[in-house]
């Protein structure tokens, strides 16, 4: 029996739950404790666990570094984009109520998009940082 078999099985078992929990935190963030930042951290925790269990090469085959870079930028773009969209719709920066015809619906949409942006950025950036350090330690 390979010594890390237990670890791998456990990781395979845990990662989906971690991700589901992350999405829960993400999408309930506007009503209950939680939000994009926390969700992003949890997602990246899943990524870290995966790397620990299955190794960097395998992980990078699934999520290449380049993709992480793109994702981290996209998240910020989403955030800023929503803000600018509010501007274009005639409100102040980040004034979501103007996004849709209905104020409340607009607020909902706005906050969900914003939190999504934060989540994507945090998740990808933290993963990116971990990957980069992992590369370093291998070189030295």
């Amino acid at each position: 029996m390979r010594p890390d078999l237990l670890l791998k099985v456990l990781a395979k078992f845990l990662i989906p739950f971690i991700l589901i929990f992350a999405f829960y935190v993400q999408f309930h963030g506007d009503f209950s404790p939680g939000g994009g930042f926390q969700a992003g951290v949890i997602i990246s925790a899943a990524a870290v666990l995966y790397v620990l269990a299955f190794g960097l090469e395998l992980a990078e085959r699934g999520i290449p570094l380049r993709a992480l870079q793109y994702l981290s930028s996209t998240g910020i773009l989403l955030y800023t984009g929503v803000g600018v969209a509010c501007l274009l719709k005639g409100g102040n920066f980040l004034d979501y109520s103007v996004l849709l015809d209905n104020d409340v619906a607009g607020q909902h949409l706005g906050i969900i998009l914003i939190e999504l942006g934060v989540g994507i950025t945090v998740a990808s950036t933290l993963t990116l940082i971990f990957f980069t350090f992992a590369h370093w330690s291998r070189h030295s």
Partner: protein
């Protein structure tokens, strides 16, 4: 429509540009977008400053939430001037950075470099424009964190260590600031600057407030590299990439000092924060900074390190002006922030151009620069401005400060100011002499990269600005006087 949003656009534009730049595939496109953003920002900055001239202020509520609950941005002459400084320097440094950075940083990192640069600018402008003290802290961290990354990209090995040092000290300063903000929040229950200002007098916990003030203030002084909290600065300026040194020297400490001014005079108010003891403390710290910085600058053997110590000295002038607490002194201090900003940026750019070939700024390695006579003009203009020579911007600020010192009857301060100028001659002379009058041994043979057109253009622009604003002070000094009157509550 855009007129109403010009204030926020100043911050949003670089924030939007940063991820886009990181996504763009080619370094030329990245730079193009960066310079485009910078141009737009410069245009906006000039416009908003024109709008607030004469003492009006622009308010902007983020997300439509009214203060004190929401975050609001407030723009008056004081931060209008600072915003202009940041935008101007950002624009010029980007012009310069193209050729300069490509010689220092591998091509694949350039996109990230410009993206990080945009984040620095976002942070700086955010600090300058926000009217919310916690929001200010967030922007402080944004600019600081991205600055650490920029510094770490320096060409020399020590750059990483310098970045690490700056990270440690910057965090120290930011933590103190945050503790201060927390204590103030505990005492007043608000984070909005104007609201805070109105509650200072009525707080039932003066001791908490006072401790908060002390922490906040000390943290800011560290960020602004005010003597005796200056020790982190020389390494940072010395080992950063050339364009980054220019950007930081002209903006980051200035912006931190702006926050000091804003907190001291606007938020806490003159009576609260500047009991005589405190004002005298500022005068003392400023004077020591002038003397210490100048003396240390004379000792340096590295051009950029010399300039860094000179920055410490020059910041001292602004602190002295602040401590005098008069309209003349304060406007001198503010206009000196602007004036010294453009001067030092020009000088760091000159240093960067010399270092392009040899890759170092050790004075002995740069000797014999006679093959670049035009740079002499740059160094002379900048140097004379550091000394405070009439016809350059440096004179204007020192004249105001000297006048303010006499107004108050602080003769010893006048002596310090003038002595600082004399010492400045020594260090300015030191680098001009080594660069242009000491023959190089062996003579320059290496044909390293040649300064690009953008670099020349940037230097030329700043030199012109140094002379122009030295001769025509209506704009800069006018805005600074407006701001000083507002801050001190004096009506013309």
């Amino acid at each position: 429509m855009i007129e109403n949003h010009m204030t926020i656009m100043l911050v949003v534009l670089p924030m939007l540009a940063a991820p886009l730049i990181a996504l763009l595939p080619s370094k030329n496109l990245s730079w193009g977008l960066a310079i485009l953003t910078a141009t737009l920002q410069l245009y906006l900055a000039v416009n908003v400053l024109l709008d607030v001239q004469g003492g009006t202020a622009i308010h902007y509520e983020l997300g439509g939430w009214a203060p004190p609950w929401g975050i609001s941005y407030r723009l008056d002459s004081l931060n209008g001037l600072m915003a202009l400084l940041v935008c101007l320097i950002n624009f010029v440094c980007l012009l310069y950075a193209k050729a300069s950075i490509e010689a220092e940083i591998p091509g694949r990192k350039l996109g990230l470099f410009y993206a990080t640069w945009q984040l620095v600018v976002t942070g700086l402008l955010g600090i300058v424009l926000t009217g919310d003290i916690f929001n200010l802290f967030v922007f402080l961290e944004i600019s600081s964190l991205s600055t650490y990354a920029l510094i770490g990209m320096g060409r020399q090995r020590q750059a990483l260590m310098a970045a690490f040092q700056y990270l440690l000290s910057g965090t120290l300063g930011a933590s103190f600031f945050l503790i201060g903000v927390g204590l103030c929040y505990a005492a007043t229950g608000t984070l909005n600057m104007q609201d805070l200002a109105s509650q200072i007098g009525q707080s039932d916990q003066p001791m908490t407030l006072y401790s908060g003030f002390a922490f906040l203030f000390t943290g800011l002084l560290l960020k602004a590299a005010i003597y005796p909290l200056h020790a982190w600065l020389p390494n940072v300026y010395q080992f950063s990439p050339q364009a980054v040194s220019a950007l930081l020297s002209a903006t980051s400490t200035k912006v931190a000092l702006y926050v000091v001014v804003r907190c001291l005079l606007d938020v806490f108010g003159v009576e609260f924060s500047l009991s005589r003891l405190f004002a005298d403390l500022l005068l003392l710290a400023g004077s020591l900074a002038i003397l210490f910085g100048s003396l240390r600058a004379i000792q340096q053997t590295d051009l950029k390190r010399l300039l860094a110590y000179s920055s410490i000295a020059q910041l001292g002038y602004s602190v002295v002006g602040l401590g005098l607490l008069t309209v003349t002194g304060l406007s001198g201090a503010l206009v000196h922030l602007f004036n010294h900003g453009i001067t030092k940026a020009a000088l760091f750019m000159g240093a960067g151009m010399l270092a392009l070939g040899p890759g170092t700024t050790l004075l002995t390695r740069l000797a014999g620069g006679t093959h670049r006579p035009w740079l002499l003009l740059l160094f002379l203009t900048g140097g004379l401005s550091l000394i405070g020579f009439p016809g350059t911007v440096g004179f204007i600020s020192k004249w105001m400060l000297a006048l303010a010192a006499i107004e108050q009857g602080h003769w010893w301060l006048l002596v310090v100011i003038l002595l600082g100028s004399l010492l400045a001659i020594l260090y300015v002379w030191k680098f001009i002499e080594t660069l242009y009058f000491v023959p190089q041994n062996p003579p320059e043979t290496s044909t390293g990269p040649v300064p690009g057109r953008g670099m020349w253009l940037a230097c030329g622009l700043l030199c012109l600005a140094i002379v122009y604003f030295g001769l025509d002070t209506r704009f800069t000094l006018g805005v600074a006087m407006d701001a000083a009157r507002q801050l001190l509550g004096v009506h013309p």
